[in-house]
């Protein structure tokens, strides 16, 4: 007890991160409901890998293990990465991605609090660049796949790479709704026509739109619990919807409605869970708005005009680079130095 303050709020990084993990659970539950339990396998694999690599890196960096292993940040990175990649992928895919995220993106940059890039998104980027084929094998929702794969069969595929006799990979997996849209548009079909395909539901992809709803529920919890502020989700959807609306208004046959974009891919998890990572996002309120609005814009551009199925990861990483600059130029005025104090 050296100097004031002598009391502190009973809170900790570990407790905050735990609540973020809990906020992911509704989406995970819906994921299991629509796609089967394979996601639980990849989340477990990612978690074990993350903790193992975290411990190894801490040991190599001669840092204490206990406080950092208990801070739950490695687990969060693991879960976000696992939720971003196809659950029915060979086991090493998620292991390689997670290991890279924790070792390179997090610890080589100085560990917790010092990494300029979102580790989960770095892991995702590495995987999609290095293993593009495996990254496209998304599970079809259970009611679309031909009877679906049993859990045993899923496990067998993940760890041994073999499918039951008579089942082909194409039968149980599919391209993402965003990817399908892009492919079909290249075939000169109109948006309205494409939306009639069985993989589309109310707003976006069948199943995936419900998972997005789960992320939304978790995100609203984070807002209510004041773990995140409204700025980033609000500005992200603002940027994404505004850009999408402009294109949609110009040519509704070729550019799908803004709501499709909001409910597709990683938009919702990105807005509430990925872009809001405090370490890699701006600290000032205005900075958060600029950062997220630009990320929304970039997401749309990458999705519609880029070569990758989704744009969240690269939009996040691109905007991560800009964070120090954004912070420097958006410093709020301090007490008594405002233009109009009243």
């Amino acid at each position: 007890m050296l100097s004031s303050p002598f009391i502190s709020k009973p809170t900790s990084v570990s407790a905050i991160m735990l609540r973020v993990l809990l906020a992911l659970l509704p989406a995970v539950a819906l994921y299991v409901w629509y796609y089967g339990p394979a996601i639980l396998v990849s989340m477990t694999l990612a978690s074990v890998t993350a903790l193992g690599v975290e411990a190894l890196m801490l040991r190599l960096r001669e840092r204490p293990l206990k406080p950092f292993l208990a801070d739950n940040t490695a687990l969060l990175t693991a879960w976000l990465l696992a939720l971003s990649i196809p659950p029915l992928a060979p086991w090493w895919l998620v292991v390689v991605g997670t290991a890279f995220a924790i070792s390179v993106a997090k610890h080589l940059y100085g560990g917790m609090g010092n990494n300029p890039f979102n580790p989960a998104m770095v892991g995702y980027a590495v995987l999609i660049i290095s293993f593009p084929v495996q990254m496209t094998h998304w599970l079809s929702p259970l009611d679309l796949g031909q009877g679906g794969l049993g859990f045993g069969a899923q496990l067998q595929y993940i760890f041994a790479g073999v499918l039951p006799d008579g089942t082909s990979l194409d039968a149980v997996t599919m391209a993402t709704p965003l990817d399908t849209l892009k492919t079909q548009l290249h075939l000169d079909r109109a948006v309205a026509q494409i939306m009639q395909m069985p993989i589309y539901g109310h707003l976006a992809g069948k199943g995936s739109e419900m998972v997005a709803l789960g992320f939304l529920a978790g995100g609203l919890y984070l807002l209510a619990a004041r773990i995140i502020t409204w700025h980033i989700p609000f500005a992200f959807f603002g940027g994404l919807l505004f850009t999408a609306e402009l294109f949609h208004l110009a040519d509704p046959n070729h550019y799908v409605s803004p709501l499709f974009h909001a409910a597709s891919g990683a938009a919702v998890i990105g807005a509430f869970f990925i872009l809001t990572d405090p370490v890699t996002s701006p600290t000032t309120p205005r900075g958060k708005l600029i950062f997220a609005a630009a990320a929304g814009f970039l997401t749309y551009i990458i999705r519609v005009f880029g070569g990758y199925p989704d744009g969240i990861a690269f939009a996040t990483l691109l905007m991560n680079i800009a964070v120090p600059l954004i912070d420097a130029y958006t410093q709020p005025r301090v007490f008594g130095r405002k233009k109009d104090p009243q």
Binding site: S3, P5, F6, I7, F68, M112, P278, P332, V334, G336
Partner: protein
């Protein structure tokens, strides 16, 4: 309903106030000795001892004379004998001993002759002098001499704010004072209002003190006061900070480095108003104050305590629990760890919290900052504490200043909410003291440089003078020579004279010129020294620092002008 304003941020730590408001203010027992510190006010000027060991003093007798402008008197809290005038442990975070008068009470508690007066019949300058000699200082904890604050000068004071917010957890001395002595507080406020020519008096009390608000409102209704109002303000720490309370009540934001008077407001603690009243109306100097004794004690309560009462003797009256491991003076957010329980109570001591490991568990080890900005969300000065932390940690002091480090009021809200448990305020204190040290060093370097330059100049001048002297001598010698040969051929001389006559003169001139040239060359060699080879950025920085200092000098000068 008056419109109230908001300030940014703030926190809601557990109040822990009800423990010490269950019983009325008790008179603390006369201690075995009183250790009265002589320097009990903010500001550097000393208070000179006015007594010697062996002297008998009466209650209220002057024992410390204020010297210099920012100074305040100190009095004997009871009658007795002066045991010693020496350095003793004091209630200061530095834990350095300071000059104290130790008095052994004679038990008679015999007052010195004193009398009150009606403030309306006194000149304002006399009133102010009376307050200075009565040792009245701000009792909210800042202990700035009140007489200096009760002078509006050329500024027009619209609002006198009376601070009864008492936003820090645990502290209840103002609460109890307002409950029990509301009328006297208001009478004191009236005197302050007159001294400042203030249009209105706004008394801000946090709404977690309904009894105090009721008592003050009742006293207000019972008296005949001009433009006074008791206002319940929302409970949020640090709502009792002077600038924060002024903001809430008036909407004014007083920037760092600007006096509240310049913006038409002045702020005093309710306890100060009470002691102003006692000093003027009863002629009683400030010799006691209300102190909350709480925390790890059996009977948390408020005491009226004679200044100089050793903390240990005071705390014992509240029943210190055996596992007590120390004391905090002030509140848990901004208080200081008491270096010695033998130190005497001072005018700044509003509260003592007995601590134990159970009550104040040590903070968990700090983790890295995750930039969550909870600190920025609660900062009442709208700072970005996380940025200041990085700059302080990296010793980027210039950057820290650029991000308004000195606007930090060290309220501790940022540290309180930090999920990584980083002792942020300690980093800011460190950075501030580093900057002060740098400025002092630079000042010292400036003086050294000036001296050095002066020395060079002197040496140069002496060389020049020597050269001139030498030249003069030669000129004289040449003239003498010329006089020795007056019979030179007149015809030849007619032609030769101009050149011959000119020659010695020219030689002397040339010598002088050469000496000057040499001196000049030397001067250019040594002079530009430490401003040489600087980048434009460094030059700009120097210019900026110079500008800032010029501004400070300017402010200091105008301040001096104001005093006169």
């Amino acid at each position: 309903m008056r419109k109230l304003y908001r300030f940014h941020g703030g926190v809601h730590p557990p109040a822990n106030k009800t423990q010490s408001t269950q019983t009325p203010i008790a008179q603390a027992a006369l201690p075995s000795k009183l250790v009265v510190a002589l320097h009990q006010h903010a500001g550097g000027s000393a208070t000179r001892p006015a007594v010697q060991p062996g002297d008998h003093v009466l209650k209220g007798q002057l024992i410390g004379l204020p010297e210099g402008r920012i100074a305040s008197a100190v009095h004997a809290p009871t009658s007795g004998m002066v045991l010693a005038v020496d350095r003793q442990p004091v209630l200061h975070p530095s834990a350095l001993p300071d000059l104290c008068v130790t008095i052994v009470p004679d038990g008679k508690d015999e007052w010195i002759a004193h009398h009150g007066s009606d403030y309306r019949e006194l000149q304002h300058s006399d009133l102010r002098h009376q307050l200075r000699m009565a040792g009245i200082v701000g009792l909210g904890g800042a202990v700035f001499p009140s007489d200096l604050k009760l002078y509006a000068g050329k500024h027009k004071i619209k609002t006198l704010v009376l601070n009864g917010a008492e936003c820090e957890p645990y502290i209840t001395c103002d609460d109890m004072l307002m409950r029990e002595r509301a009328a006297e507080i208001l009478r004191g406020a009236e005197i302050m209002q007159a001294l400042l020519y203030a249009e209105e008096v706004l008394i801000g009390i946090e709404d977690n003190k309904p009894e105090a608000i009721a008592a003050m409102q009742q006293a207000l209704a019972a008296g005949d006061y001009r433009n006074m109002e008791v206002i319940a303000v929302p409970t949020v720490y640090p709502g009792g900070g002077a600038k924060q309370l002024i903001r809430v009540l008036t909407g004014l934001e007083v920037p760092h480095g600007v006096r509240t008077t310049e913006m038409g407001a002045q702020c005093f603690n309710v306890g100060t108003a009470y002691s102003v009243y006692r000093a003027v109306a009863h002629g009683e100097p400030l010799i006691s104050r209300i102190v909350t004794v709480t925390g790890n004690v059996e009977r948390p309560q408020n005491f009226e305590v004679l200044l100089g009462t050793p903390l240990a003797e005071l705390a014992a009256q509240a029943g210190v629990k055996p596992d007590t491991d120390g004391y905090i003076m002030g509140g848990p957010m901004m208080g200081i760890a008491v270096p010695s329980a033998q130190a005497g109570v001072t005018k700044a001591a509003n509260c003592f919290i007995a601590t134990s490991r159970a009550l104040f568990p040590p903070a968990p080890p700090a983790l890295p900052c995750i930039r969550c900005t909870r600190c920025a969300e609660v900062c009442p000065a709208d700072l970005q504490p996380q940025e200041l932390y990085w700059f302080a940690k990296a010793k980027e002091l210039g950057k820290a200043q650029e991000y308004h480090l000195f606007d930090c009021i060290e309220c501790g809200a940022c540290s309180y909410v930090c999920p990584s448990h980083i002792p942020l305020v300690q980093y800011y204190r460190f950075a501030k003291s580093e900057i002060w040290a740098h400025e002092r060093e630079k000042d010292a370097a400036d003086i050294a440089r000036e001296r050095h330059e002066f020395r060079l100049e002197r040496q140069e001048r002496e060389k020049r003078e020597r050269a001139e002297k030498l030249a003069q001598k030669e000129r004289a010698a040449a003239a003498a020579k010329a006089a020795e040969q007056p019979a030179a051929a007149a015809g030849a001389a007619a032609a030769a004279t101009p050149a011959a006559a000119g020659q010695p003169e020219d030689a002397a001139q040339a010598l002088i010129q050469a000496a000057i040239e040499r001196a000049k060359a030397q001067a250019t060699l040594v002079k530009p020294k430490n401003t040489d080879n600087l980048t434009p950025a460094q030059l700009a920085e120097i210019a900026e620092i110079e500008a800032r200092r010029a501004k400070i000098r300017e402010i200091a000068r105008t301040d001096n002008d104001k005093e006169q």
